[in-house]
């Protein structure tokens, strides 16, 4: 395929995203329209039925245990129990092994996409990742066929995942510096010029494109200064493609539509079969990088599903509720007075933000067929 021959369906969808999908936006500023995003997927990639929105569109299982986090430490036994309950509820299976077998086969090479970007204050808990690894090994997936990965190696270091995960499991930081492109596939990319940047492409990570056969996504529950929240979709999209920070330049953010478009690119879409959101902690302001404990709640919750849009919709509601309770403005706010370019002010004042956030990226992903964003259609099951 010539580099200028792109996937037309995604192009069309991207065009749809730019209007009419911000129904809750409030305030008094008109934001710039995002450019068209051109996509080059893998040619002839056949979509998997396990791919997003997966086996259970619209279903979100929320499991809460007040004993899950005590003194900022996550309890391994409690998390194990929560995960087992959640997997059985999600799948309707009686045993944990049968529940996991809905998604994973022994011959799979399984990628576990963590989010270490807020480490150590809020990142994918090693305790949850250890339990996922144990479940995969229950299915006889060899440790060497399990790859825990994220984009930035140094962020994985800060989380100490290397030492905390079992021997034999691969731990991969896709890139070591901002300009390292060796871990990316030059044939799969999204292309757009957002702010006149010199590099207009974002390439898919080779480990996703060419190595793993299934992905288990383990995002965290966080506010995000540019996208509104960072959940399943952003962890997957912006954690798979490089050169994504260019999509937001204060005060404007084009995370909508880019996040959803990236998640729809094959083979990422087909390989992401299960999402386990780590809600052990909830960052309600300052995400994704804050270390300020004032904005982090120890909530002790897991959210499970195959539909990233539905989970992120619940996440968005959860963070909005907390922000209301704390007297912070909605993530939909469009008030110019709330914008600051002083990151120190942003990190210490919940009234301020660096960008006009784009939480509509979740509903936009829904229009690409990645899941359900209408709360009335979401099958939200709570276990406590």
């Amino acid at each position: 395929m010539d580099r200028r021959t792109f996937v037309k369906s995604s192009l069309g969808a991207a065009g749809l995203l730019v209007t009419g999908l911000d129904p809750f936006a409030r305030g008094d500023i008109s934001l710039p329209q995002p450019p068209r995003v051109q996509v080059r997927s893998r040619p002839q990639e056949k979509a998997s039925p396990l791919g997003m929105p997966g086996l259970f569109p619209g279903r979100v299982v929320e499991v809460h245990d007040p004993e899950a986090v005590i003194g900022n430490r996550v309890s391994q036994p409690v998390v194990r129990n929560m995960l087992e309950q959640g997997m059985k509820e999600l799948t309707g299976e009686r045993t944990v092994a049968d529940a996991w077998a809905k998604f994973i086969e022994p011959a799979d090479i399984v990628g576990i996409k963590i989010n270490p970007s807020g480490a150590p204050a809020c990142c994918s808990s090693p305790e949850i990742v250890r339990e996922i690894i144990a479940a995969l090994q229950l299915l006889r997936v060899p440790a060497s066929n399990i790859i825990v990965y994220d984009r930035y190696a140094y962020e994985i270091d800060v989380g100490s995942y290397q030492v905390l995960l079992p021997p034999g499991v691969q731990i991969l930081g896709i890139q070591d510096g901002f300009s390292d492109v060796s871990g990316y596939d030059p044939n799969i990319f999204c292309e757009a010029s957002f702010f006149g940047e010199w590099e207009t492409r974002s390439y898919m990570a080779s480990v996703v494109a060419n190595k793993v056969t299934k992905i288990i996504n383990v995002p965290t529950l966080k506010d995000h200064s540019a996208s509104g929240v960072t959940g399943c979709l952003k962890n997957l999209g912006y954690g798979t493609f490089n050169n994504v920070a260019r999509s937001h330049r204060s005060p404007f953010s084009f995370t909508n539509p880019l996040i959803g478009i990236m998640c729809s690119v094959e083979p990422l879409r087909s390989k992401a079969v299960l999402h386990i959101m780590d809600g052990m902690r909830q960052v309600w302001h300052g995400g994704p990088l804050t270390q300020a404990q004032d904005f982090i709640l120890q909530t002790g919750t897991l959210y499970l599903g195959t539909d990233p849009v539905a989970i992120d919709t619940i996440e968005l509601e959860t963070i909005e509720k907390t922000r209301r309770e704390k007297g912070a403005p909605s993530v939909w706010e469009r008030n110019p007075e709330s914008i600051t370019q002083n990151s120190h002010e942003f990190y210490h004042n919940a009234q301020k933000n660096l960008f006009y956030r784009q939480p509509a990226h979740i509903a936009a992903a829904g229009t690409l067929g990645l899941g359900i964003s209408d709360l009335k259609q979401i099958d939200h099951r709570r276990i406590a």
Binding site: N72, A153, V158, S160, L164, L165, P167, G168, D176
Partner: protein
């Protein structure tokens, strides 16, 4: 291994892991003598011997750099990524590699002398003592090999990955492990002498002084253990997990925590002498110079050893794990983005 003058042949200066407290430097740097870009990220610490600085880069290269001029004397390419801090043993530079090997390279020529193999990444720094090199691997084994030939002497399996550089004494080799235990093994046989459980995996490398082992754990606690039995003498709770390693100076053990603070604890009692904030997150080990504690945490911070008062701060060397080399007149730093600095 002994060091002379400004030599700095191993992690935290030498095998005593005192952090270079004999060095006379640690005044605020005023200018760069030189700066070298290696072309790859650096996530290890430099070492220094006879005017040559040895630096490993993630891309798998070991660089020998003239400390006066910054010129590269030679470069050695390993076959995998490298995160291990090199150490110097006789006329060889040793370092671990993600390909599971330990490489021994001639200090003079940069030629490979020997290599030894494990089954997992080696991020620890090899430690040499009495002709034996000890190193831990992510394959959950501690290895002992002949320093001259690389021939295996023994290996001891434990319950988790090893990223903690061992501290070697006559009585035992002490290290932390991903299975949450601190181990002491017999130097001659590898037999486990004792193990002490903490509440989570251990990234931190121990320091031993006066029969006391000091080490941090990801369970947020700093532990002091009896070096002979492993019994807990005291423990001190910080605000988050600990990946930093302690440096010991006289009566103080100094260590960073991911909560962003550097803690100075009395080695005998665990009583907090002071704590000082050094950025949002601290994972690097501190080093101690004359009256100064130096640590990298998004920049380089220097605190007065006695009080914890900030003495100076430099915006260079943002590496998350690197330890600066302090000499009489120059501070050598590496940074995550692959820069090596010599600051006067």
């Amino acid at each position: 291994m002994t060091s002379v003058d400004s030599d700095w042949p191993a992690l935290l200066k030498d095998n005593s892991r005192t952090g270079g407290q004999q060095a006379a430097a640690a005044r605020a740097p005023s200018r760069a003598r030189w700066q070298v870009r290696l072309g790859s990220a650096v996530r290890s610490s430099p070492v220094l011997r006879d005017g040559i600085l040895y630096v490993t880069a993630v891309s798998g290269t070991l660089h020998a750099i003239d400390s006066q001029s910054g010129r590269t004397k030679w470069k050695f390419q390993a076959s995998g990524l490298v995160h291990s801090t090199p150490s110097i043993c006789g006329d060889k530079v040793l370092f671990g590699c993600d390909d599971g090997r330990i490489y021994a390279v001639s200090c003079e020529s940069g030629a490979r002398s020997w290599e030894a193999v494990s089954q997992g990444e080696v991020w620890t720094s090899p430690v040499a003592r009495d002709g034996i090199v000890y190193f831990g691997s992510a394959d959950a084994r501690l290895y002992a090999i002949n320093a001259n030939t690389g021939t295996a002497q023994w290996k001891q399996e434990v319950g988790g990955r090893i990223y903690s550089t061992p501290f070697v004494t006559d009585k035992g080799i002490v290290f932390g492990c991903g299975d949450a235990n601190v181990y002491s093994v017999d130097p001659s046989s590898g037999k486990i002498l004792w193990r002490t459980a903490t509440g989570n995996g251990i990234d931190s490398s121990p320091a031993v002084t006066a029969d006391t082992v000091v080490i941090g754990s990801e369970d947020f606690w700093v532990y002091a253990l009896d070096a002979n039995t492993g019994a807990v003498r005291w423990k001190y709770e910080t605000g988050l997990g600990i990946a930093s390693s302690p440096a010991i100076s006289g009566e103080l053990a100094i260590i960073g925590s991911k909560d962003g603070y550097v803690y100075a604890l009395e080695t005998a009692t665990g009583r907090l002498r002071w704590k000082a904030q050094a950025g949002d997150v601290v994972t690097a080990p501190p080093v101690i110079a004359n009256g100064i504690v130096c640590i990298q945490a998004g920049g380089t911070f220097a605190f007065e050893t006695n009080s914890g008062k900030l003495a100076w701060r430099a915006g260079l060397g943002g590496a998350v794990q690197s330890v600066p080399v302090l000499t009489d007149k120059v501070i050598y730093l590496t940074s995550l983005d692959g820069e090596v600095y010599a600051l006067e």
